[in-house]
């Protein structure tokens, strides 16, 4: 089958890439655009580790066709880093030890970034509910929830992002 060119903004940079109609966004981001912060695991919408922000909303990129992303704005964990400095949510994950193997971390930080932008004053219960579509097999989630609750203060504007 003949491929087609799509254009998307990946972490602020315009990228053109040739895709097949039956390729997923996950496949194209990771294997064609070499955006390795997007992890592939279950490929069936359950683990959530391929989560990226598509036009501002978190989606599981294994369940999106790459052609659907033509013209869209994609943000991954890499895109949260500004001028070589981690964003507040990423720093909070480091400070709280909210990772062990780190495989799920990029998905958790982009999803948490979106969640805190929408809801900067969450309860622990709301954080847990939001995280139900993301799977971490190391931490038991406690430190992840701590990190998100702690990072919320930056999204409320109580503390400046830089230390």
């Amino acid at each position: 089958m003949a491929g087609r060119m799509i254009t998307l903004r990946l972490n602020g940079q315009e990228r053109r890439v040739e895709v097949e109609d039956n390729e997923t966004l996950l496949y194209v981001l990771r294997y064609k655009l070499k955006e390795m912060s997007v992890k592939s695991a279950c490929w069936k919408g359950e683990c959530g580790l391929c989560t990226v922000l598509m036009d501002g909303k978190p989606v599981k990129s294994c369940m999106v066709l790459a052609v659907e992303a033509d013209g869209s704005d994609i943000v991954t964990a890499t895109g949260l880093v500004k001028d070589g400095e981690l964003s507040p949510i990423q720093k909070a994950f480091v400070e709280h030890g909210a990772l062990q193997c780190g495989f799920c971390t990029p998905a958790f930080v982009v999803a948490a970034h979106h969640f805190l932008q929408k809801n900067p004053n969450p309860t622990r219960e709301q954080v847990k509910e939001f995280l139900s579509g993301l799977i971490c097999r190391c931490t038991g989630y406690a430190q992840i929830i701590d990190a998100i609750m702690d990072a919320a203060k930056y999204y409320r504007g109580e503390q400046k992002a830089s230390p």
Partner: protein, 297 residues
Amino acid sequence: MSAPYFTLPEFKYVKPGSLEEALEILDEHGEEAKIMNGGIGVVAFLKERLMEAEYIVDIKGIPELKKIEYIPGKGLYVGATTTVNELIEFLEKSPEVREKYRALYEASTHLADAILRNRATIVGDILEGLPYMDAPGPALIFEAEMHAVSKSGERWVPVDGIVMGPMMTQLQPNEIVTEIIFKEPPEGARSGYVKFASRTEYGIVNVAALVAHPNDPGKRVVKIAYTGATALPYRAREAEELFKKPEPFGKLVEEAVKVIQDNVEVLEDPYASADFRKYLMGILTTQLLVKLARGEW
């Protein structure tokens, strides 16, 4: 790359910009063309090679399919491509509508997960046809109907009976569902939704129920529907009829649960036995109906 779920079979992706264009494509290609909405079902079915298609028709580019509108006295209209999160946001901003459609709101907040709900749609959830979906129960108790349009006409199809199995519906291959209406609930009604899902996000027993005027037999209305327990969404009409009898509500709940447990054909699978499902149907239905009647739900 040939590991499971890495690949999808070959197809041609088309994204019509208008309903006319989409209907033209479906008319021309018939069964060869499959409609894709949020893609949660279609992409999964394609990956698992449970679906084949020459054309995947993405309907998200058709402007009029995105809509949420409540018309007092008629009902709540939800467009085919309106996502579950868009519906949740609308209901959270309109508390009066949310209270009228409490069961739909509660089912929506339990549907899949918060990330998938950015793509999942109510119409897609109902038409996917797997046993454990969340939207069909509320659709049944609110007497929902889908608006199906084709080149040769349009019709409103009741959700009750629309699904015949996974990916199997009463709809014709050349029809597109544009919207669904959840009809105005009876005056004074309260509704709720319980999802029992252990070990998995898939509900073993999901109950949607509606109760109006529980202590006034002349005006009393009770509606009960299930997913997860049965192969197809199940409206317990025989049990609902019992509530017309001039007897105390509590006594009728007991009778209704027995009628449901005696008549229903429940699923038996690795998640739960048939007996456990029947037990859960009894206990969850009793709790939900009694709490709705007392105004505690």
